[in-house]
């Protein structure tokens, strides 16, 4: 009943609010299709291509140790692999975190993953072979990337001790328009995924301070597992983050994109780029996307 009352008495406010919120149809028709040519989607879908493009102009990405695209290359990886103690193996075209193994150490002829599993050389070769054969990427032949394991900045580790947190930036025509920090929880199984109970933290673009946080659309102030406050926290290297995102947008030929940033000890690195960034960030930041996007368009003219 209250809902109808509000609809009736505050119709103008509500109608005005509606124009500020971006729906899926509007995102696709007015932002994704006109600004992201289909041919440029590969820059987002193929993580190897993303990395190479960014690296070529000197932007920070996790350092690639080995990339394996063909089966015969599997025989040659052993000496290089033996040198490594901390690394990540991931499919270049995977989605949703499938097929990713994070190795934190080497002991007695096998590697140890962050979840405590032991990997022999054979087991790692088998996993890489699976990636190449497309087990994790819908039957497409894929490339396996073995890259540096980002050591998370201590400030961020304090906020997200249960897994790697990442910063999602929405960038439109080269301008950063919205940012949030995604934090893993016990409920989200160590993944910084909002669908699965991860925390979304809204970050003010000017100051780099967090001002709100949500789990499953409910406002929270502290991390449910650690009790550490999530509000009014300063993100370190924020100026660098903003600059890295703008530079990334210059390199990647997508006009409307989501950029995922991890914050390492030495500064931010680009993890991946998304050509169809989700719209849930509006709920996290408690503000529709249309206002900042239209202001970019006004400046652009």
């Amino acid at each position: 009943m209250n809902l109808f009352k509000r609809l009736f008495f505050d119709f103008d406010t509500i109608a005005d609010n509606c124009t500020k919120v971006m729906g899926m149809n509007q995102r696709n028709l007015e932002y994704v299709y006109p600004n992201n040519p289909r041919s440029a989607f590969a820059y987002a879908n193929d993580k190897m291509l993303t990395k190479q493009s960014l690296q070529a102009v000197g932007l920070s990405v996790p350092k690639t140790f080995i990339s394996v695209r063909y089966f015969y290359e599997l025989q040659r990886i052993e000496p290089e692999l033996r040198q490594l103690t901390g690394f990540v193996i991931k499919p270049a075209s995977g989605s949703g975190g499938n097929g990713i193994i994070v190795i934190k150490g080497y002991e007695d002829d096998h590697w140890i993953s962050v979840s405590g599993q032991l990997y022999t050389l054979e087991k790692i070769r088998k996993h890489i072979a699976d990636i190449i054969f497309g087990v994790f990427s819908f039957g497409l032949n894929d490339c396996a990337i073995i890259e540096e394991r980002i050591e998370q900045h201590e400030y961020i580790t304090a906020l997200s001790p249960l897994g790697l947190a990442d910063i999602r930036m929405i960038n439109y025509k080269g301008k950063n328009v919205k940012a949030m920090l995604r934090i893993a929880t016990k409920a989200s199984d160590g993944k910084a995924n909002l669908h699965q109970g991860g925390i979304g933290v809204a970050i003010d673009l000017l100051s780099g301070r967090s001002f709100a946080a949500q789990i499953a659309r409910e406002n929270v102030e502290v991390h449910p597992d650690t009790g550490i406050s999530l509000i009014d926290v300063q993100i370190p290297f924020f100026k660098e983050i903003l600059a890295l995102c703008e530079a990334t947008a210059q390199v990647i030929p997508l006009g409307y994109l989501g950029i995922d940033i991890a914050l390492g000890v030495d500064g931010p690195v680009v993890l991946e780029v998304n050509a169809r960034p989700g719209i849930e960030i509006q709920n996290i930041s408690d503000e529709g996307l249309i206002v900042p996007l239209e202001s970019v368009d006004r400046d652009y003219l």
């Binding site: 008495f9 505050d10 609010n17 500020k20 919120v21 149809n25 007015e30």
Partner: protein, 534 residues
């Protein structure tokens, strides 16, 4: 200037305009020049009647015959289908009746013959002019309808004395005589639910009878007065299975055979749900002896297009039925074509649910295809089968995933699992006499396998609850698509105006440019939307 012509929005508008013009020209031509009546598109009620006959042969010649209804002003018969088993079929006309007979020289074992037809009926009500006298002389072709027959003892003194008691004779008016006889039989006689043969005199003596006894007595009394009359045998059409047939009478009055039924009190009236099968004092089934003969009528009520619409469409040069003939020549039946024509409509329903309402579904057009397949299983069994198959295959996929197989072989296994679970469900369904569910094997197998794969991925990435929720939404969209696609009005509309398919393209072109928020997004972003309101 030149650049303007090559913009996407220019092509968009030209396409819209062209499609809209073609649709409007074709529809306008049919509506105004060929005079299609839109009112005729609203469907009417009809009945599908199936008679199934079971028998056991012992190696001898076996023959069987029954009456088939004819199209008259009261009833229209169409879509007749004969499933003769091993028998040879012969259909012949005998006076006012149509007889079908099946026979085979050496019949062993149990056999089942089925014959079905579609019936559309009209309510008939006659007004009898109160002044018409009973005619003295009748043309010779009506003479047989005055004679005594076995069981209709016109000349028995009891008949004459009964008429005397009722106070009617040859000088009465037709109306008065019939009214008196009808009233007497309706109100002074007990209705008996007895299936055996009762002759006119027995009925008269007992003052009670079933339909055949009352009808013979009615015929005997009217014939004695000089009114030509006859028995009519038929069925009362109600949904369900039955063995009981019905008899009533018709009296010839000034060029019309006027119906009377003294069991259910219909005076000069034939209700909409009466089906005439034969005229005269006949037995509905004749068959060789000792064959353990059993029969059953199965009647299903159905909505069907009006006859008028079919006639208009036959007459028009742009008629859709011609189109059907073309397809029939290459082996695509009318029914299949009707289903194919409804798929675009189902797809539009899906588009509306996804892009306007914002329900996430598995597969873009899976709901429309499942809804199509559910025509055979019925909606609820279709949904049940769909969910079962998805759950079983998703479980299997989880197991396959654990073993880490390559994509294509994994999908081939999923496909096989879908086929196996369909087969198992069909067998279980047939064993437990759920014949509708047995049609589950008509489901689109490859699409189901892909859906199961999607289910498993969603379950893995977003949790089991979310996968279940999307299945639930998919089920809702299937229901909606089913309701729209099986709507007879929509079917008639598209059959009459196939150019509406172009209009569906127009709607999709429009929806393809629609940037409004989806209904579900109003809920999702409610906090933002109600911000600052009190």
């Amino acid at each position: 200037m030149r650049k303007y012509f090559l913009t996407p929005s220019f092509f968009y508008q030209v396409t819209l305009f062209t499609l809209l013009s073609i649709t409007m020209i074709l529809m306008g031509y049919k509506l105004f020049i060929l005079e299609y009546e839109l009112a005729d598109l609203i469907p009417t009620v009809g009945y599908e009647v199936e008679v199934s006959m079971e028998m056991n042969g012992h190696g001898d010649k076996l023959s069987l015959s029954t009456y088939l209804p004819l199209t008259t002003t009261h009833q229209s018969i169409s879509d007749e289908r004969n499933e003769p088993d091993i028998f040879a079929t012969q259909i012949s006309i005998d006076g006012p009746n149509r007889i079908v007979s099946w026979s085979a020289p050496q019949v062993k074992g149990s056999h089942l013959v089925r014959y079905s037809y579609f019936v559309q009926t009209q309510h008939l009500l006659y007004t009898i002019d109160k002044d018409i006298p009973i005619a003295d002389r009748l043309p010779s072709y009506l003479q047989p309808y005055l004679k005594a027959e076995k069981g209709i003892q016109v000349n028995d003194p009891l008949i004459a004395s009964t008429l005397q008691e009722l106070g009617v004779d040859g000088s009465s008016t037709v109306y008065h005589a019939l009214y008196t006889i009808h009233d007497h039989l309706q109100n002074q006689f007990e209705n008996r639910n007895f299936s055996g043969f009762t002759d006119a005199l027995t009925a008269l003596k007992l003052k009670e009878a079933s339909c055949n006894g009352k009808s013979r007595l009615f015929v005997a009394l009217t014939r004695k007065l000089g009114l030509p009359s006859r028995l009519v045998g038929g069925l009362i059409l109600t949904s369900g299975s039955k063995k009981t047939s019905h008899q009533w009478v018709e009296v010839y009055i000034r060029g019309h055979w006027v119906p009377f039924d003294t069991i259910n009190n219909h005076f000069a009236e034939l209700p909409k749900n009466y089906l005439r099968l034969y005229y005269g004092d006949k037995v509905l089934f004749k068959h060789s002896a000792n064959i353990n003969f059993k029969y059953l009528f199965h009647i299903t009520k159905k909505l069907v297009p009006r006859k008028e619409m079919r006639e208009t469409m036959y007459a028009s040069p742009l008629n859709a039925f011609n189109m059907y003939k073309i397809f029939e020549r290459i082996g695509i039946s009318q029914n299949l074509l009707k289903i194919i024509l409804m798929i675009p409509l189902g797809a539009l329903v899906v588009v509306i649910f996804r892009n306007v309402i914002g329900l996430e579904t598995f597969g873009t057009f899976l709901p429309a295809l499942i809804a199509t397949a559910a025509r055979e299983t019925g909606l609820w069994w279709g949904l049940f089968g769909f969910l079962m198959i998805i759950l079983i295959s998703a479980l299997v996929r989880k197991f396959l995933d654990y073993m880490q197989l390559l994509h294509s072989p994994k999908m081939a296994i999923m496909l096989t699992v879908v086929v196996i679970s369909m087969m198992l469900m069909t067998i279980v369904a047939v064993q437990s006499s759920l014949f509708d569910l047995a049609h589950i094997s008509l489901f689109p197998i490859a699409i189901l396998a892909i859906t199961a794969e999607r289910f498993a991925i969603v379950q893995e990435e977003q949790g089991f609850l979310r996968a279940l929720r999307i299945s639930f939404w998919t089920a809702i969209v299937i229901i909606a698509a089913y309701v729209v696609m099986s709507s007879l009005f929509m079917q008639s509309l598209i059959i009459a105006f196939p150019e509406l398919l172009l209009f569906l393209i127009i709607l999709n072109l429009w929806l393809g440019k629609w940037v409004g928020m989806r209904l579900s997004e109003y809920v999702r972003f409610r906090k933002l939307i109600f911000k600052g309101s009190r």
